[in-house]
């Protein structure tokens, strides 16, 4: 299974004169759990939206499996990539099964086959929400919504999956559980999982690789130990922290916000 995301001199700005992202060059080409980190407004969501054609880059290129995203039809691109938004925009709610079924992209056929249902139940079980199957989406809590959206993004087992802060509404236990499940997908299913995350310690515990954004560009890329350092946290987040080693992974102890750091 081929999975390659390649960005070359990628630039994007909502206002042409104010680029949010600039000079992004990075290749991700193997099954791994990649986390994108950085402060609010740095362009994390913008970056993944440039990968799946929700946004069109102002300049530069994004190649998915060696083909430029602009050359992809939406349907074809969606066949390679799953997506999990950070918040639900669902207006008229369907049942949980039907909500997840939408992710199968089988809108060419009218009915629901047992095969489709089986795929839905498998992913509901993966997210540990099989008991919610017949509930209406709008009856669920924010955390449960997030798990249903994760299930919708993963139900097709795409080669690449983009996740925009998929654990932001989950409590600590569920954050750990879900992040662990996501981190196992590259090994178990051969997927390239790209996730935006704000939780430094959970990211440090599970990520194979971290991309840290700062000032519209990539500030650091590497393993958690290479990227999560006292200096990087100080520069990127404006926070004084101590980084200790726990079982070979960095663990951050936050001290205080630096008053003279740039307001984000």
């Amino acid at each position: 299974m081929q999975m390659k995301v390649e960005m070359k001199d990628l630039e994007f700005g909502y206002d042409p004169n104010v680029p949010v992202l600039k000079g992004i060059t990075q290749t991700l080409d193997k099954p791994e759990f990649v986390c994108i980190m950085g402060p609010n407004g740095v362009g994390k969501s913008t970056l993944i939206h440039c990968m799946n054609k929700i946004l069109k880059p102002s300049s530069g290129f994004v190649y998915i499996n060696d083909k430029e995203v602009r050359e992809y039809k939406l349907k074809e691109l969606a066949g390679h990539m799953g997506y999990v938004p950070n918040a639900s925009e669902d207006s008229f709610p369907l049942s949980v099964v039907d909500t997840v079924m939408v992710g199968l992209q089988n809108d060419h056929k009218f009915g629901t086959s047992d095969d489709d249902l089986q795929k839905v139940y498998d992913v509901l079980r993966l997210m540990k929400i099989q008991h919610l199957a017949m509930r209406d989406f709008n009856e669920l809590s924010a955390g449960q919504h997030q798990k249903v959206m994760l299930a919708r993004g993963l139900v097709r087992t795409p080669e690449i999956v983009l996740l925009d802060e998929p654990t932001s509404n989950l409590d600590v236990r569920h954050q750990l559980e879900v992040t662990k499940v996501l981190s196992e997908l590259p090994r178990q299913k051969g997927m390239l999982v790209i996730m935006i995350s704000h939780d430094i310690n959970i990211t440090a515990k599970y990520a194979d690789r971290i991309i840290m954004l700062h000032g519209g560009g990539i500030y650091a890329v590497g393993t958690p130990s290479e990227v999560i350092t006292k200096e990087n946290i100080r520069t990127v987040y404006g926070v004084d922290a101590d980084v200790i080693d726990v079982n070979g992974r960095p663990h951050v102890i936050l001290n205080e916000s630096l008053e003279d750091s740039e307001d984000i």
């Binding site: 074809e76 997506y83 709008n138």
Partner: protein, 355 residues
């Protein structure tokens, strides 16, 4: 263990689907019963069985046709009842699709400003005798109202094609055009005689009394073609209600789909409004009442809204014919009088929110 659990979940899902299909079947049966009963109401006494037998004989057993019953059914009552049936069907379907595509529970087939365009066209035809077809009378009125009702939708399509716009922008553009057309209509009304003003007023409140087999056929064609296409697009509508970003990521061009839907809905609603005037409430309320029982899955919502919209409009028309017989109230008034309390009752009774 998992196989058993999956089998149980599949059984639950199939039962859940079966309940939806049963509801749709119930609505269709109610539609035929209402149709049969409506043919019995009037100055000439016909029983419901005579009515069904009369319809059957007309098509399949011409030798057994009773001339009087046949005349009452096919020349007097059925054109109106059948027009009500297809108009209700069209408005129900158009309303369901409009609410889903706009992701807005307040949307109805007239959200695009269609009714204001149609009113302007009708005012031109009835008040000033201007007609796009170059002829007066009913044909002039119907064609002018039809053409003008589509102008607001064309403006929205034009505006949204300049930039990929959201559903909310489309609604706002529709409201802006509506105000412009209403202002134009008011200007013309100021110049009209009392008699012309009365005709324009009569048209604007929605009425099935001018129905004919022609109006039935025209509305039927748009209703059937529109409903079939919308049913085929129902899974895409289900994707659209999950939000534009998600729809794009799932390979759906939300903007293009919205334009296609807008054209379809406008044609369906325009075909109704040009013959019957503005019958409000059916397009708004029928899909919501169906949602309370069926949920928002467009695969079931669209056919159910078709059948329920038809029942609602036929019942409203029936009441409008008998409530102050021998004269009658415009059906547009009745749809609001029965639709509003029914809707409020269901809203209060409903424990869970359905949008």
């Amino acid at each position: 263990m998992e196989t058993n659990a999956d089998a149980k979940m599949m059984q639950d899902y199939h039962r859940y689907t079966f309940r939806k299909i049963l509801f749709i079947a119930g609505c269709i049966v109610a539609m035929f019963i209402t149709l049969g009963y409506a043919t019995t109401v009037g100055s000439s006494g016909i029983t419901i069985w005579e009515a069904y037998a009369g319809i059957w004989n007309h098509f399949f057993n011409p030798d057994a046709v009773d001339e009087t019953i046949d005349w009452v059914l096919f020349d007097v009552r059925l054109p109106r009842i059948m027009t009500g049936l297809v108009a209700g069907m069209s408005l129900g379907v158009a309303g369901a699709a409009m609410q889903s595509m706009m992701k807005n529970p307040l949307a109805d087939p007239y959200t695009t400003g269609l009714s204001s365009g149609a009113s302007f066209g009708a005012t031109l035809a009835l008040g000033l005798g201007l007609s796009v077809a170059g002829v007066g009378g009913t044909i002039g009125l119907v064609t002018t109202a039809f053409v003008f009702s589509l102008i607001p939708a064309m403006v929205i399509i034009g505006v949204s094609s300049l930039r990929n716009t959201s559903a909310a922008t489309m609604i706002l553009a529709g409201i802006a055009v509506m105000y412009l057309f209403n202002a134009c209509t008011t200007i013309i009304k100021l110049t009209l005689s009392e008699q012309s003003l009365s005709a324009v007023f009569q048209w604007s409140i929605g009425d099935l009394s001018g129905s004919s087999w022609t109006s039935f056929l025209v509305i039927l064609i748009f209703a059937v073609i529109g409903t079939i296409i919308l049913m085929l697009l129902s899974k895409q509508l289900n994707i659209l209600i999950t939000g534009d970003k998600n729809a794009t990521a799932l390979g759906l061009d939300a903007h293009k789909l919205r334009i296609t839907l807008l054209i379809l809905i406008s044609l369906m609603a325009a075909s109704v409004v040009c013959f019957t005037g503005i019958i409000g409430f059916i397009g708004l309320v029928a899909p919501h009442i169906v949602r309370i029982f069926l949920g928002s899955d467009n695969r079931y919502l669209i056919p159910a809204s078709a059948a329920f919209g038809a029942v609602l409009l036929m019942v409203a028309d029936l009441i409008s014919r008998v409530i102050i017989a021998p004269t009658f109230l415009p059906v547009g008034v009745i749809t609001a009088f029965i639709g509003c309390p029914l809707f409020l009752y269901l809203l209060i009774k409903q424990r869970k929110s359905f949008w």
